[in-house]
């Protein structure tokens, strides 16, 4: 409750031009904003650009925020910044979506939050899982990817996601269902690469 009041006060101060207040909001949301951006664009540098652009854009358009979920309002700006980046990449496809070494191999990407006490084997497994998920996400259409990233990867509520996508709840449900189904089909292709507990097989015992 007090956190919500504090956030409302920070938003009000930021709307009056207080940059320090806005930066406190940035501190609260930058991790989720960057992670959403990373999952949507699949590339660290592009995700950083999109996140920074989104925060600048959010500060400049704070006057248009009329209440409701600030997180949803902010993440809508983040997703739009990501779509812009993706459109730009499609026009000028210079960077690969996958991190690749000069040898053509996937670069080891372990730049995520490590669990304390995690063994090297666990880390390696998570690296494989991360690569598989990101590759499958990259194959989805933009709005399908956004739905699955926000609900399944970030654990957000359907209502918030409907607000972010500016779509009816029913549309969010159907896009999420189709996105999950496509992710399932894609991840089956990584069965050999994934640790046993992560493998999805074609057969499932009823």
């Amino acid at each position: 409750m007090s956190e919500a009041i504090n956030e409302a006060a920070l938003i009000q101060a930021a709307q009056a031009g207080d940059l320090d207040a806005f930066n406190r909001l940035v501190i609260s949301y930058q991790t989720v904003a960057y992670n959403v951006a990373y999952r949507l664009v699949g590339d660290d540098a592009t995700a950083q650009d999109a996140t920074q652009d989104a925060f600048i854009s959010a500060y400049r358009s704070l006057g248009s925020f009329k209440g409701g979920s600030f997180k949803a309002w902010l993440l809508r700006i983040v997703t739009n910044a990501c779509y812009d980046e993706l459109r730009r990449q499609k026009r000028r496809p210079q960077l690969p979506l996958e991190p690749v070494t000069p040898d053509g191999e996937d670069a080891p990407d372990q730049d995520w939050m490590a669990d304390p006490g995690e063994s090297p084997e666990d880390l390696a497994e998570r690296a494989e899982l991360n690569t598989a998920i990101q590759r499958c996400l990259n194959q989805l259409d933009d709005e399908f990817r956004t739905a699955v990233v926000l609900i399944d990867v970030q654990g957000m509520e359907y209502g918030e996601v409907a607000e972010i996508l500016k779509r009816p709840l029913g549309t969010v449900k159907s896009r999420l269902a189709r996105a999950r189904s496509r992710m399932q089909d894609c991840l089956r292709g990584f069965a050999e690469l994934l640790p046993e507990q992560f493998r999805l097989t074609g057969e499932e015992t009823p």
Binding site: Q30, D44, Y59, D152, V153, K173, A177
Partner: protein
């Protein structure tokens, strides 16, 4: 291989996973899940997919995304310049006020000191009297005449003494009256200066504070 699930069933299973079905829809789906093994298998697959996605690691923040004034489009230099200007003006006015107050109190004493301050007011009295003496030297000469007569001196001696006395008395007073110093001017306008400088210091200070907050 499991048979492809119908899009409508897929939506129902997906929504059921997140508890998004109405009680009626959920009841109907549970009844079907008990009867249809293919549907149950599809549901479990979807459940595992969701579990897998939820285990996707969160990335560490590579850097801070806090905005600098330049990013926010704030005119940092001009804002700081105005703030510094008002601050300097406030400080200057306060310093001038202190100088005026010190000068004023040194010559006139503190207003609340009452009788004890009287000796310190002598220079002011002298300054006030100076023009009067200058404008009517005849009166001063007359006063010297009567004093000499009282002492019983003859005419020649009294004439000499009168000339010497008049010249000696008038010299410093004429000097003070004809060339007023900055101190005299400050003392004559002390109250006005104090009010003006105090107001200037407060206004400039408030403007500096307001500029700093923007």
């Amino acid at each position: 291989m499991t048979a492809p699930t119908a899009p409508r069933d897929l939506e129902l299973l997906s929504a059921h996973l997140d508890g998004q079905l109405t009680p009626g829809e959920a009841e109907a789906l549970l009844a079907r899940l008990e009867r249809e093994p293919a549907l149950t298998a599809a549901f479990k697959q979807l459940q595992r997919t969701r579990t897998l996605l939820r285990r996707a690691p969160q990335r560490r923040l590579p850097r801070s995304f806090m905005l600098t004034p330049a990013m926010a489009g704030k005119p940092q230099r001009s804002g700081l310049g105005a703030w510094s200007g008002f601050n300097f003006a406030s400080a200057l006015a306060a310093l001038a006020l202190i100088l005026v107050l010190v000068t004023d109190f040194s010559f006139n004493g503190l207003p609340s000191l009452g009788a004890g301050a009287a000796p310190a007011q002598e220079p002011m009295l002298m300054l006030a009297e100076a023009p009067v003496e200058e404008s009517s030297p005849a009166e001063a000469t007359g006063a010297a005449d009567s004093q000499l007569a009282d002492e019983g001196l003859d005419g020649a001696e009294s004439d000499m003494l009168r000339v010497e006395s008049t010249a000696a008395d008038e010299a410093p007073m004429l000097k003070e009256a004809t060339a007023p110093t900055l101190t005299q001017w400050v003392l004559q306008n002390a109250r006005t200066l104090e009010t003006l400088l105090a107001s200037l210091a407060i206004i400039a200070g408030l403007l500096a504070w307001h500029q700093r907050r923007r």
